[in-house]
């Protein structure tokens, strides 16, 4: 058999753009860069103004420095923790404990949420049976479980992991469930026609199409995992950033409370950055959202 192949689409070189257009492109690029700088400058300025106002008002007793502390004291506190450690050990150790608990709880919550979400999204019977119970559990204010977990699992990391899990599980579960439900029926039909078994359809069609749904929830849920760990530590722990907050509070050291919050914010931002990076790697198959970035 000799089939004449259809000529492959060959990339056609764009016609040489006229000079003026190039100039305009450049001008546009310059304007974009200019704007970026302007935005950045405005941001920094805003921060500086807020911090300066805080500092001044606290120094001149417009606001109570005992309650509201002031940026310079908070900074000193962070420096002191970094240099000499906290009452519970080095600052790095506290951060590591909190991260470890949050990460552990997050992984368990995400795994459980994704597995159950996909299972319920695929198996109608399971969804019908378990649906109402999951709704009821979701309606509970789950953060009140944190003290119960401390009673059950003690002051160690286990109780914090448990608080993180219950906070992470539900948003991930609902998104995975929705993602599995909203799979393009044509893709499922195509996979079946091409010979995919039910298991293959789940793993190779439903899971990949649900990933964008799941990832949306991953961002939010890592924040929840941190909250779970911190609240657990705040209630009772031997190490962690949450303990720093409660210990500072116990000694009426408001600068310490704020400093612990700053440390926590930095940790959360770094984690968020790592997650975004992972997402970019995983979603190479997706068209780049023109609205994203910047």
């Amino acid at each position: 058999m000799s089939h004449e192949p259809i000529p492959a689409d060959s990339a056609v070189a764009p016609m040489a753009a006229p000079k003026r257009a190039t100039g305009r492109t450049e001008a546009r690029a310059r304007a974009a860069r200019h704007r970026k700088l302007l935005v950045l400058a405005a941001r920094v300025l805003l921060l500086a103004v807020v911090l300066a106002a805080w500092e001044l008002m606290a120094r001149h007793k417009v606001i109570d420095p005992f309650n509201f502390s002031m940026p310079s004291k908070i900074w000193d506190q962070i420096v002191q923790w970094t240099a000499h450690g906290t009452a519970q050990g080095s600052l790095g150790e506290q951060i590591w404990y909190t991260l470890y608990e949050a990460l552990f709880g997050w992984i368990i919550g995400v795994t459980g949420g994704v597995a159950l979400g996909i299972a319920l999204g695929r198996v109608r019977f399971l969804a019908d049976v378990l649906g109402p119970y999951i709704k009821i559990l979701n309606a509970l204010p789950r953060i009140v479980l944190a003290p119960i977990f401390v009673i059950w699992f003690g002051l160690g990391p286990a109780s914090k992991v448990a608080s993180a899990v219950v906070l992470v599980f539900f948003p991930v579960f609902f998104n995975a469930f929705q993602g599995a439900r909203e799979v393009d029926r044509n893709l499922v039909a195509n996979a079946r026609i091409l010979g995919a078994s039910n298991r293959r359809v789940t793993l190779q069609v439903v899971v990949p199409s649900a990933t964008s749904w799941i990832f949306t929830s991953l961002h939010v849920s890592f924040g929840f995992a941190l909250i779970g760990a911190i609240v657990g530590e705040y209630i009772g722990a031997t190490k962690g950033i949450g303990l720093l907050v409660s210990a500072s509070q116990g000694t009426f050291n408001s600068a310490g409370v704020y400093a612990a919050m700053v440390v926590l914010a930095v940790v959360a931002l770094v984690a968020e950055g790592l997650l975004t990076f992972a997402e970019r790697r995983l979603f190479r198959w997706k068209a780049v959202d023109p609205g994203a970035g910047g």
Binding site: P5, A8, N190, R192, I193, G195, A196, Q204, W285
Partner: protein, 288 residues
């Protein structure tokens, strides 16, 4: 008029063997979200001989795609029977290929991986699947696009990926739902000729696939098919069957100019036009 007297000069089923596809009194009723019943296909009889190329035309929304899903085993008929090679269809069969009307390539797989999907699902070793997929990508003119993702292709290119994805499985029953409607006129003519060659029907001793080809383009239907089936306005049932006795091998571009072609075109168009008019009036009623 012509239904019943089937033409068997260059295709069809030799006596004693079952036809490739047979629908007997098949009906399909859908339940709409509001709970009402909607009959998409009613009491449909259709026979496709082995190696026969059947084109199906009908007004939009009449039930052509639904008919194909019944044959594919994706859906079961509410009533009646669907047989492939004499056996009732109870599920997906490996010899059936289906090119869907809507885009159905996997967006998270590269072009190559999309074409490899079928063989891989069916347990073909990776190296062999890859080789066959590359061969097919060459035939549909996408060899240079093997490592692209579908969102980086044009609509026509994506459709060609879908064609390669289906053909790589070497189906003996080929269901095609408006496969060329997203293509430009030139590619369309090329693909039609290519399809006829791949199908390989019309020659003595050929092991041609049996094809059901849904299209809105009547010229395309006549140029390709051994018989053209005209469906009624929904619910779909066979209105008339027109045998096309144009000689093979055919070239779709030149065949359009022949007198016989023009004559049969006029004949089918008057039959189809009536159903299209009914469908349109119904639509107008619903709006009113």
């Amino acid at each position: 008029m012509n239904s019943g007297t089937l033409d068997t000069t260059h295709s069809g089923t030799p006596p004693g063997r079952n036809p490739a596809i047979e629908l007997r009194g098949a009906s399909k009723v859908f339940r709409t979200p509001s709970g009402a019943e909607h009959t998409a296909v009613r009491d449909l009889d259709l026979t496709v001989g082995r190696g026969e190329f059947v084109a199906v035309v009908g007004p939009t929304g009449c039930g052509k795609s639904t008919t194909l899903t019944l044959v594919s085993g994706l859906e079961e008929p509410t009533e009646g029977e669907v047989l492939i090679g004499g056996d009732p269809v109870t599920g997906i069969r490996p010899e059936v290929g289906f090119v869907f009307q809507q885009d159905a390539v996997f967006p998270w797989r590269t072009v190559l991986s999309n074409v490899m999907a079928g063989p891989r699902f069916r347990g073909v070793p990776k190296a062999e699947a890859r080789e066959r997929a590359l061969d097919w990508l060459g035939r549909v003119g996408l060899a240079a696009f093997a490592d692209r993702y579908p969102h980086q292709l044009s609509g026509g290119q994506r459709k060609r990926v879908a064609l390669a994805q289906t053909f790589v499985g070497d189906p003996s029953i080929l269901l095609m739902d408006e496969p060329f409607s997203a293509l430009d006129v030139q590619t369309r003519a090329l693909m039609s000729d290519e399809l006829l060659e791949l199908w390989g029907g019309g020659q003595p001793g050929g092991t041609a696939a049996s094809v059901v080809f849904v299209t809105h383009d009547l010229e395309e239907a006549i140029a390709l098919a051994d018989k053209v089936v005209v469906m009624t306005a929904g619910p779909a049932t066979v209105k008339e069957v027109f045998p096309v006795r144009l000689p093979r091998p055919r070239k779709v571009e030149s065949i359009r100019l022949e007198a016989e072609f023009v004559e049969i075109y006029r004949e089918i168009w008057s039959s189809l036009g009536e159903e299209v008019r009914i469908t349109r009036e119904r639509g107008a009623d619903r709006v009113a």
